[in-house]
């Protein structure tokens, strides 16, 4: 939503605790507009580098644009410390288990729809492994109104990439998808490659799913990250514009 300089805008942003997978308490960072709304919502799934400052900022960005945004800490059970130290621990164990992620994301979805200021429409957003998790959770935890997949790698997976923590490729759940998918990808990304994105697209077409893909030239993995050499200003601005338009169309 476009704001005007003479409009009131307020936001509350704080960490809370929600029940996740198996009812386990996990931390979550929530940013929501003040006022009765009602507002649509979005679950914001952090990337492999962790539940970090970039994800605090993007959660608040969604609230600034009129969404109840909740970012669950998928690494909560690994312990606590600076986000990078925790991410190192999780990386060493092969990543968090997919079943656990689905449960935690479902917990965040349940929190969002339960808010009296929520319209009941909830999108899910992720970058990198967060995008993979967003796709997985949207297929396995029905109730989302839209998925935003920013350069999610390993949505399609070769058999040798499967592991005890990630035993099934998310693309294999495509038949259970019940909401449209926005894909934001960079042509120079080594994962997902252009070919891998094409495989995902084929699966969506085969199952008659609604999707909208954007493949940006001169951009690689993580081109929204202003704090990394991967940042591409023009492509990132175009990507965000597509995200707002997609959300307005399917979520509000």
């Amino acid at each position: 939503m476009q704001y005007a300089t003479n409009q009131y805008e307020g936001m509350i942003a704080e960490t809370i605790v929600i029940p996740g997978h198996n009812g386990d308490p996990i931390g979550a960072y929530v940013a929501r507009p003040l006022g009765p709304g009602p507002f649509p919502a979005i679950v914001v799934i952090h990337h492999m580098p962790g539940w970090d400052e970039w994800y605090r900022e993007v959660t608040r960005k969604f609230a600034h644009h009129g969404y109840i945004a909740i970012s669950p800490n998928l690494y909560h059970r690994a312990g606590h410390g600076i986000p990078e130290d925790i991410a190192v621990q999780v990386r060493a164990t092969g990543g968090v288990p997919d079943d656990q992620v689905v449960g935690d994301v479902a917990g965040a979805l349940a929190y969002a729809v339960a808010q009296p200021t929520c319209t009941g429409k909830v999108a899910v957003f992720g970058t990198c492994s967060g995008a993979r998790h967003a796709y997985l959770a949207a297929c396995r935890a029905p109730g989302f109104a839209a998925i935003i997949n920013c350069w999610g790698g390993r949505v399609t997976m070769e058999p040798q990439e499967l592991s005890p923590n990630q035993p099934v490729a998310p693309v294999d759940y495509t038949k259970d998808l019940t909401c449209p998918v926005l894909g934001i990808f960079g042509e120079e990304d080594s994962g997902p490659t252009v070919a891998q994105v094409a495989l995902l697209e084929q699966a969506l077409i085969a199952h008659g799913k609604t999707y909208e893909f954007h493949m940006y030239p001169d951009a690689g993995h993580g081109f929204f990250y202003y704090d990394r050499p991967a940042y591409r200003q023009a492509q990132a601005m175009a990507g965000w514009k597509n995200i707002w338009a997609f959300l307005a169309k399917y979520v509000g």
Binding site: M48, D189, P229
Partner: protein, 89 residues
């Protein structure tokens, strides 16, 4: 993409973090997105002691050429030390 290429080994020795030396317990070796190095992927070495908590960590992130040269250099140094009779295992 997140490669999920990572292995942990037990190690014996000491590492120096920002607040001083600590006893090492494990080394995590991975090839994945770095936190700091300006590459899309890096060979990361995280020397940790999980029993002391996540802040007990000494990390480096290397490009592939540096990582390969490091492996060769480590092996060369160990071989030289062995020839000199300095290694007793």
């Amino acid at each position: 993409m997140c490669t999920m290429i990572a292995t942990q080994i037990k190690v014996a020795g000491s590492g120096k973090a920002g607040n001083g030396w600590f006893t090492l317990g494990e080394a995590n070796v991975s090839y994945d997105h770095p936190f700091e190095a300006p590459f899309e992927h890096a060979l990361s070495l995280d020397f940790v002691n999980e029993a002391l908590g996540p802040s007990a960590r000494v990390s480096v992130e290397l490009d592939v050429a540096s990582a390969r040269q490091l492996v060769d250099t480590i092996n060369a140094i160990l071989a030289k030390a062995d020839r000199g009779g300095y290694i007793v295992e």
